[in-house]
Symmetry: C2
Subunit: 209 residues, 2 copies
């Protein structure tokens, strides 16, 4: 089947556990690579260039924008964040399924440029459960939690642009479902047009015999 990797976009509400799902995927299977974002913010202690982020100066980042070398980018609090194409394309060419863990607006921009990308949305079973999880973390103030819930309400308006909805109720089940959805991509006819053409040609030649 198709040897090229698939581009996979995973989004979800803050608190849905998508970070954990992605970590488990990377740990359990060798077929995945994680897209690395570029940013102009300063590295934090322990962060390494080309591991957590591609750290760039403002000028370098703006050069990437000019060269159309990013799938998408956005500005938050004076810093740029974006998804460099080159790293993703290298990994895809090497046969890796590349995962972009990205918020909904960025996801739609990437999908526009890559119609064949797979869009997955990770959600807890209900909004109630989402709020419980954010509260149970115990690390956020109620102000932050309410902010996240407001943000989730906004994001939920875009959920129906995604192709698949994965409910993160049991982590192992969720990871397995995401893995299967991604691997199914390789069975799509549209990803195997070379094989289809080979079989058609071979059958035509046999008929001529």
């Amino acid at each position: 089947m198709s040897k090229k990797g698939s581009l996979v976009i995973i989004s979800g509400f803050s608190g849905a556990g998508k970070g954990t799902v992605v970590k488990e995927l990377m740990k359990n299977y060798e077929c995945y690579a994680l897209s690395i974002s570029a940013t102009t913010r300063n590295p934090r202690p322990g962060e390494e260039n080309e591991r957590e982020y591609f750290f760039k100066t403002k000028e370098e980042f703006e050069e990437l924008i000019r060269q159309d070398a990013l799938y998408e980018y956005a500005q938050y609090v004076d810093n740029y964040y974006g998804t460099p194409k080159a790293y993703v394309e290298e990994q895809l060419a090497a046969g890796k399924d590349v995962i972009l863990e990205i918020e909904v607006q960025g996801a739609l921009k990437v999908k526009e440029k890559n119609p064949q990308a797979l869009l997955l949305f990770v959600t807890p079973p209900s909004a109630e459960e989402l709020k419980h999880r954010l509260i149970d973390r115990g690390t956020e103030t109620m102000d932050v939690i309410n902010d996240r819930m407001r943000r989730a309400a906004e994001e939920s308006e875009i959920m129906d642009h995604y192709q698949y909805l994965v409910i993160n109720d049991d982590l192992d089940t969720c990871v397995k479902e995401v893995h299967q959805l991604i691997q199914s991509q390789h069975l799509k006819v549209s990803e195997n047009l070379d094989l289809v053409a080979d079989i058609q040609k071979e059958l035509k030649e046999m008929k001529g015999e």
Copy 2:
């Protein structure tokens, strides 16, 4: 996730082993029901009405056509064959994933009336391998084998209307892949619009609190 069953169309070259794949699915998993065709041909010894086929008179069958009670039908050698809607719809409503093992022309007709249906095409790894399998069966004359290969060449022209291509090289792998492709249907956002709407509504109400 969605409780209603999915409609699944499985096609493939004669000799690709799709019958065996379908049998294994039915044996290994409880979630499937097999669509039963209607026909005007006479029952053969051992065949039972409502098990192998819905056996109908010509008048009864033509009445089904008039009532638009078939997804598709065709005539071969003076006999009608078709897929009655009622049985499929009952099974879907009961939450079963319903499998139609059907040839390519019929498949396209069913898909037209059921755009949400999943179309799978089962194929050996190559045309060469298909011919080997037909020969190795040892039950057919070379004339019949050549007929099947010609038919395969025709069918292969329609392969790219299918969504997924499943290579039947190792039977167990093939059955597992087909099962996963079908089960993934239940995670489609388009199959879970009620859940999406619930989450959107719940989040909106919380924001209003």
